[in-house]
């Protein structure tokens, strides 16, 4: 959290505006080699390093849990069958992406 705050501060300094517009942003891509890459961030340009990423199967069962790395990225093995990804930046700041939308 401390790191996130420090990074937010950094974003604040580089963009020179208060980090108020803080809509979470997440996009995932099928790497075509059996892995999926998700990248996150916020609409004000601040980093999503340390933000949780949850992967659920078609029955809504949590099958994988991770955190965005320092580049605000998280890579995981593509699940078989239906799945969806939740980028979890806190209450009211979740982004859900269905596996069917994750393409190469």
């Amino acid at each position: 959290m401390k790191q996130l705050i420090a990074l937010s501060m950094f974003g604040l300094m580089t963009l020179g505006g208060p980090a108020l517009a803080h809509t979470p942003v997440c996009a995932c891509y099928d790497n075509g080699d059996g892995t999926v890459l998700c990248e996150g961030g916020f609409s004000d340009g601040s980093s999503a390093s340390g933000v949780g990423l949850l992967v659920y199967d078609g029955d809504d069962k949590l099958i994988l849990e991770g955190k965005m790395n320092e580049d605000s990225e998280f890579e995981f093995n593509k699940p078989d069958g239906d799945y969806h990804v939740i980028f979890d930046a806190g209450p009211g700041h979740e982004v859900t992406i269905d596996g069917s939308e994750i393409v190469e």
Binding site: L15, A27, Y29, F42, G45, V103
Partner: protein, 261 residues
Amino acid sequence: MKSLLSGVAIAAIAMTSQANAHFQLLYTPHVMLDKAQEIPLKLMFGHPMENGHAMDMGKPVAFDVYFKGKKKDLLPTLKPIMWTGAHNEAHAFETSYKVKRNGDYIFALTPAPYYEGSEDIYIQQITKSYVNKAMPTDWNEPLGLPTEIVPLNKPYQNFVGGTFTGQLLSGGKPAAGVECEIEYINPAIDVEKNAFSKDASGPVPDSAMVAVTDPSGLFTFGLPRAGTWGFACLGAGPVTEHEGKALSQDAVLWIDVKPFQ
């Protein structure tokens, strides 16, 4: 004496108020994307506000896209096309680019110097256009071009009634007292047919709209109308001669303006 005369000629051209500025276009129709997609890029040289004569482009010197500080050469991807202007056809170029990752994509074109016979000078407009996907990254950073306009407002998100501020750099340093001409693309653009519409209904002011950069190289312009607006800061670059003739090395920047609704 000859060079003094051509200097005077350039000054005369730069100070003449005529609403027929040359503008290097670097155009794609949608500049704020929310999904990965392939975007068309059209490179043509013309007079976009009065929908005037289209000029032949030579093979560009450089064409790159910058993403998160990394540069990718797009020159080999350029295909020659004929662009249909309202009055004539001219040699132009096109390509497409696959936008995938989130962030700012900065396209930068260094065209071949264009010989303008009526003025007996060469013109080279180093041009930047921006595309954003989902979140901002480095739209505010200079690229290190010989001359460029660094935006102080997001170039892909401006609104009618707002202002746009840019900082003109020459050799990486702020360039003061330079006249920047301001235009918008008046005709409709047919991306499929590589053409401007015959008619353009938007207003064309009696004389060129200009802003002169302040001691910090800054200029600000109030945005009166939605569309694609361009700024061309004339003779801003460090190179002033090409093949024995005067060269006006200009910095061009394109921005997108939408109604605030």
